[in-house]
């Protein structure tokens, strides 16, 4: 499926949209890390929680659960909430 990558993570992917596979959101993030080593830990902490400010939308709907099942046709957007100084 297509995954939209936020600008803050493009040092890993170089491009804004990448292809990744997986049956769940957790699997997709693992696949991204296989392709772009290091990217997962910058989004997800060691307790398997999305870090503050990281948001994931699937077909426009906010998803918080890594076990969320995904289909190959889903459109995944990783978005970084803008805040801070």
């Amino acid at each position: 499926m297509q995954v939209l990558i936020p600008t803050s993570l493009r040092s890993y992917t170089r491009v804004s949209r990448v292809e990744a596979a997986g049956a769940t959101l957790g699997d997709v993030l693992a696949d991204l890390d296989r392709q772009f080593p290091g990217i997962r830990f910058r989004m997800l902490d060691e307790q398997e929680q999305l870090r503050p400010h990281m948001r994931v939308f699937v077909n426009g709907k906010a998803i918080h659960d890594l076990a969320q099942p995904l289909r190959a046709t889903d459109d995944v957007s990783i978005v970084q909430a803008l805040s801070g100084g």
Partner: protein
């Protein structure tokens, strides 16, 4: 608090200050300043006279870089502890003095907690210490919230080190994020005894100073003589807030410490810190963050006091910044402000943001919360500003390249 006696040492102390200061064996190299800031990292490369500085940077623009260190064992590997406001913490690594960087494949991270138990999350890696000279590629890292980590492959992969990260007693001493310093409680001042890789120290803000003589298998507290904020009980380790602890390279049995509550010296094997800051002028006080020791003379140290009165403004006292130097182990202190602003300067210097090089005379360097980099080629006698308009400076390290 029982301590195991240290291994016998073969250290020979030079008998006079002059002999101590003449003991350097290699010709001086070029000094490079490693400057870590709230918005990226810079390298400043000095000329042979340490007069002009060539800027190299920014590296990681926009990243919060807490610390950047050179591996003294190979003279070319740099590690930088970084995160941004939004992305998780990581460690970047360069094996060519910053021309190219790669990321740690496994940055410092706490163990995953069992289901139903709240685990801790590394917010940022705060402190980096290269391991012992005999343990090539070994590094230590301290994090916020307090955690101790070690790498044995030059900083590529990191694992929790020792048992303290999950030890119930240590977790109690660490307190909660609520108890910590404004940008998070920190584990810092990781020190490896140059005579013995198994002899380690670290400090926590808050949580006191700790020592291991068995390579991290067991630890004992090292807080006797340290004061805590008035009204609190110094026997409660949580209340101890060491800001920066340094070991004298010329005498590894001597430590200096800048604490939330004063400046201290400790001579081992003693375990009683002595508040040498009592000799500082009363109007300046002995509160501050950095602590710097002389590379060849254990009687010489520098501090950079800040205003720790009332609401803790964390500015220069009276808006008049100055370093203070002792030449006699803290018995007396001398103000060093020549070249620094004489009034209305409200910046200060964070705990990793002041450093000495190993040249003769010693060069001193500090970075300010207002993004200025200052240098003195003569042990603090005369200061000049070598860079302005940087982001808030978190750390300055002075290294020498052959």
């Amino acid at each position: 608090m029982a301590r195991t006696p240290l291994k016998p040492t073969a250290r020979k102390r030079a008998s006079t200050p002059a002999a101590k200061r003449a003991s350097r064996s290699q010709p001086p190299g070029r000094v490079v300043l490693l400057v870590a800031t709230r918005k990226g990292a810079w390298l400043y490369r000095g000329d042979a006279k340490r007069k002009t500085w060539q800027v190299d940077g920014p590296h990681f623009l926009g990243h919060i870089v807490s610390h950047m260190r050179l591996d003294p064992r190979d003279g070319r590997t740099l590690l930088a502890a970084a995160k941004t406001g939004h992305l998780g913490p990581t460690v970047f690594r360069s094996t060519n003095l910053g021309r190219t960087w790669t990321e740690a494949t496994q940055p410092p991270a706490f163990a995953k907690a069992p289901a139903g138990v709240a685990g801790r999350v590394v917010d940022h890696t705060f402190w980096l210490t290269p391991g012992h000279a005999s343990e090539r590629d070994t590094w230590y890292a301290g994090t916020s919230p307090q955690g101790l980590f070690r790498s044995e492959d030059g900083g590529v992969t990191w694992a929790p080190f020792s048992t303290i990260n999950d030890d119930p007693q240590y977790r109690e001493w660490m307190g909660t994020v609520q108890d910590g310093t404004p940008d998070g409680p920190k584990l810092h001042s990781i020190i490896v005894d140059p005579r013995d890789p198994a002899h380690l120290y670290f400090a926590m803000s808050g949580g006191g100073v700790h020592e291991s003589t068995d390579g991290g298998r067991s630890w004992s507290t090292l807080v006797m003589g340290l004061e805590v904020v008035g009204g609190f009980d110094p026997s409660t380790i949580t209340f101890h807030d060491p800001h920066c602890v340094r070991l004298c390279p010329s005498n590894p049995d001597r430590l200096y410490q800048q604490n939330h509550c004063g400046i201290y010296r400790l001579d081992r094997p003693g375990d009683q810190w002595l508040r040498v800051g009592r000799k500082m002028p009363k109007r300046v006080g002995d509160i501050g963050f950095p602590m710097v020791v002389h590379p060849r003379d254990d009687d010489i140290a520098w501090v950079f006091p800040m205003d720790g009165t009332s609401v803790w403004p964390r500015t220069s006292p009276q808006g008049r910044p100055a370093a203070y130097m002792t030449r006699n182990g803290g018995k007396t202190w001398r103000r060093l402000d020549s070249g620094l602003p004489g009034s209305q300067a409200w910046w200060t210097v964070k705990r990793q943001a002041m450093a000495a090089d190993a040249q003769d005379p010693v060069g001193l360097y500090f970075g300010t919360t207002s993004g200025e980099l200052w240098a003195s080629p003569d042990e603090g006698a005369r200061w000049s500003c070598i860079a302005q308009h940087l982001p808030e400076i978190y750390a300055v390290e002075a290294v020498e390249l052959a």
